[in-house]
Symmetry: D2
């Protein structure tokens, strides 16, 4: 940690800061410059993080040096984590895993129909929301337990794994029972109580980036889950909020290589929510694979105009199948693969 002092910091003020650091068992060193002095601190920064050093008189700014996360860091684990999602599907290795399905679970037969089609195209995981966090209290909030049962039926029918969102920690047991992967949505990325609960779960977690959270905060939220014992966490970039209004969000494509550099955890991209427009899903999905993403999560609906939510960003099953064929080529071009159904 580097403590930059104000140009007018007095000797007494400097001594005050130094004493505090020593009192914590850490070793300060002072460097006097022409205009101002600097104090460096050697030792575990965790201790010092508790101290609001910027509130000390004479202190202008405090610059942390060490990363605030540990377990999620590549410094902690050099090799990439490969998560076994079940049924022989693994994410984080050579193969790219595609998850697909409707935004919301609506009707059982419809869901099974979609499941069959995305499976045929090569998807390994069926997505579908039973609990929906909606901006408006008057919007459809999901079928709840009934929706989970439909997902289970689709799994039984097709063998696809199930990923579905958990929005309320009181539903954890229920969701755990039906899902293979628990999704934490963008609006809950900093719902720390929820993160801790899924950290105690045995199920893999797909953590979506908050729409206005930095990559550092994203990794800190993953750290919450790992610190409770669940290391099977996938990071999912899904677009961030910017001034650009041509898309619902702005897909932060560079988040893919950055999270892969900083962390050993697998990384996915959701091009459907990032863009909000079906005709941007294909180019952005290809970009994600080219940039090194380990997986994709894509909205597919046979009749987008009947979809209860997010129809405008859903692909028809035929378009999804075509996209999968294209993605396979891009995956191979970057030394990865997407297996056939």
């Amino acid at each position: 940690m580097i403590i930059i002092l104000r140009p007018d910091a007095t000797k007494k003020e400097i001594k005050h800061v130094v004493d505090r650091i020593k009192k914590m068992g850490l070793k300060p060193w002072i460097s006097k410059g022409v205009e101002r002095s600097i104090i460096g601190v050697i030792g575990t920064e965790d201790a010092i993080r508790l101290e609001p050093l910027e509130a000390f008189p004479g202190v202008e700014k405090v610059l942390p040096i060490l990363k605030p996360y540990k377990l999620v860091s590549r410094d902690f684990r050099k090799e990439s984590t490969v998560i076994d999602l079940g049924s022989g599907v693994k994410i984080g290795g050579e193969e790219i895993v595609v998850m697909a399905g409707p935004c919301s679970v609506e009707k059982e037969e419809l869901l099974i129909d979609i499941a069959r089609k995305v499976k045929a195209a090569g998807a390994k995981v069926l997505r579908g929301g039973a609990f929906k966090p909606r901006t408006s209290p008057y919007s459809f909030q999901g079928l709840g337990k009934e929706g989970l049962k439909y997902l289970k039926a689709a799994k039984d029918e097709t063998g696809l794994l199930i990923v579905t969102e958990l929005v309320d920690l009181r539903d954890l047991d229920l969701v755990e029972k039906y899902a293979d992967i628990i999704q934490i949505g963008t609006r809950n990325m900093q719902n720390f109580g929820l993160l801790k609960e899924v950290g105690r779960s045995k199920k893999p977690v797909l953590l979506k980036r908050g729409m206005s959270n930095t990559i550092k905060e994203f990794l800190m939220s993953a750290e919450y889950i790992l610190s409770e014992g669940n290391f099977n966490v996938m990071l999912c970039e899904r677009g961030i909020r910017t001034f650009e209004d041509a898309t619902r969000f702005t897909l932060d494509i560079s988040a893919v290589p950055i999270t892969k550099n900083l962390s050993h955890l697998p990384c996915l991209v959701d091009p459907s929510h990032a863009t909000g427009k079906w005709d941007l899903v294909a180019p952005c999905a290809k970009a994600a694979v080219a940039a090194g993403s380990d997986g994709l999560i894509i909205e597919v609906h046979p009749n987008p105009e009947e979809a209860i939510s997010d129809g405008a960003q859903s692909l028809y099953p035929e378009r999804f199948a075509e996209l999968m064929r294209d993605l396979r080529k891009v995956a191979e071009a970057v030394g990865r693969g997407i297996p056939q159904a």
Copy 2:
């Protein structure tokens, strides 16, 4: 609702959209332009919101006209809502209510000491976090129930009302028991389960704006609370996330007149979290009052360098007292008042 058709929309496509609208019991009207046609829809938009019209062939864009919120709207209630917080303190009327205290509740005597000092300066409500949502799992997470008891002790001692944050809906009964006002923090503004729960509570709610949420989404989150029956909601602007890094967040001062125009609910400003720097708190607090804010929530700590969290943005009690004197003048300049202790 206005539906803008693509320039190449076919007659069949237009009929398809029109038929759907009629089927929902709504009245469409078509207007043919030189380049493209437009369909307007008369009737309650709620019905049509369920339909993802942008997914219909031939449709380019859908423009909603009506506001998506109702109960929070000034169209619903013309006169400003004045909330009785207890002990004769009312917010939303002529008097400006100042809430002050430490970021986190730490020690009982310290809290009582702060409470006495902020009361003497004119604050009517004591703030203090017992449950703290923290970016890092390794940071201090609050004293929990113990902290609530200290708040109660400070209330008994000084008569100040208590506002404290609820982060986990399992703690609602506990927080309700000790707090006069339940705070929903910025990271939980779209934790819809939590919003519904406090919507069923009898206690006034202080809802902080999400750091990357639009004012429309902010009002929709308030609508969640009102739609469950709790109309005693205060809106609190606390800074939004932008590219500017000289401050922790960017205080959106125009959110004050905008929320006052759009909604009948009282509006507050938190200049401490918005700026993250104590020397910006005073000018921003004055700006908030000048812009029409009904209240302020300010961090005060007698020894910021000992504060467990957010010391850098806390005011010394003496500075707070000085600020209160200045604020009183600004309040009077805009036809409001801040009563003496």
Copy 3:
């Protein structure tokens, strides 16, 4: 154009708006809703744009329907524009054009050395700044005319085309004399005088997106150039300003398919400036090609630690050559190609 009236708009106010529209030779139609009325306007919106309708009493909001740009629009020209850059190099067709070179032109031999290496790897255009817009008045501002001469020497030596930035319209003649492509930088995207001048030039223009400009504004700036007669404009996405601080800017990858959808002009991506970090250049360049970009502009320097500007985002020539090999595979995967040197 759709004019949404306030719920309390009076008959007189509505008549006032309607009369104005008629006076302009346009045809209004009124649609009365339960809560509020709407006025639609048929005819060229250009006329009405001059009128600040939002200032009329009774008017709540004005929603434009037509796009504000024309010549750059795909509605104006259906087929994609292919620009002949000279020496048989064409952009906008099947082949992807890569431009590479140092941020700033420094020394003649060094530049020729880089030119040879990027040519060998398959680049068709040499980039290099002779005039540098720098945030600080104390930073190196470029070699000016001397730098242009070095670029010319590198062209003579290698046959590469030259792209270089124009920052001051007084230098247009000079830059036109030496460059094959005139670059307009991000800070000048709305320097309208400069845009008009290059609009009168015969040279192709590479227009970089302003770091905080919407895609709509980006296209409007291109419209300035086309409206003066120069249709040879390339659009270059180079990252936008967001709250994320892990990169210098956030590469808006979806801008590639969006500009390709809305406009017939070729589109490029600058992954070096977008990210500011050399280790993110390769994944983002691949993503750009996968997303449909017609070209790339990449910083290359044999000794980044000696580079006068932007060393941290420059690739070594060997890494660039390796990237070109990888890009070729991605290009082929999406049905495009990058020819060998």
Copy 4:
């Protein structure tokens, strides 16, 4: 300057960095930590800024400590700069200077009428654009020289000072001849050629903040002007670009105290462009004065619905007069004043 090394930096790499620093006549000190080492550099950072240290092997990050600006800094000049604008009007002292007028100069009599009215209300400077930077090439671009003459006529008539925008450096002589204050608009904040030119002018400059520029970049642009010899620069906050779409821009009110802290230059606020809505101008103007602004620049038009540009954000003269009365009270509440006409 602090250079943070990678955890795996070799001795050779460290020596390489250290040698370079010494070669530049600067003094490095090394501090070895448990996880990584740090190199501090004592001496003028200007020298080292030329070196792209982040490109050196073994270097992870470079943290500058000194501010990159000098002449604009309060470290350079402790006391606030008071600029004599002419006719006895001074900005930066106790009195708050209000500039008002139409967005664009349209007709002579109209302009003189507005000038008389804003003068009567207490404005000291008449604003009005003769050269207009417009997003669309098809929008009204201003009357040019004719407009400048009208401004001169209004000055002769009323005695008000004139502020008007310079958009093209070829017009500097012309604008200098007619204007008392040269305005540099938000789109030209980083048009460095233009900044240098007005830096050589004798006229005071009103520099608007770029809509997506940090305060640091804002001060650097002012530094360009001062470094050419013109110290009479006023900084004008006019709203930044964020995700919020309820306003055209987001007024960054904290920029007022921040620029006042960091710089000795006077600071103004433009609430009209920041919000884009007339009904937000008054609350934001009051907030600006409360936050410590030295001046305001406000759009006023007697007939906003006839205004050629930005009618929606213009105040009627009567509303402006009312606002001036309110502002006077707020100014007095914060120990400042706005003199009567």
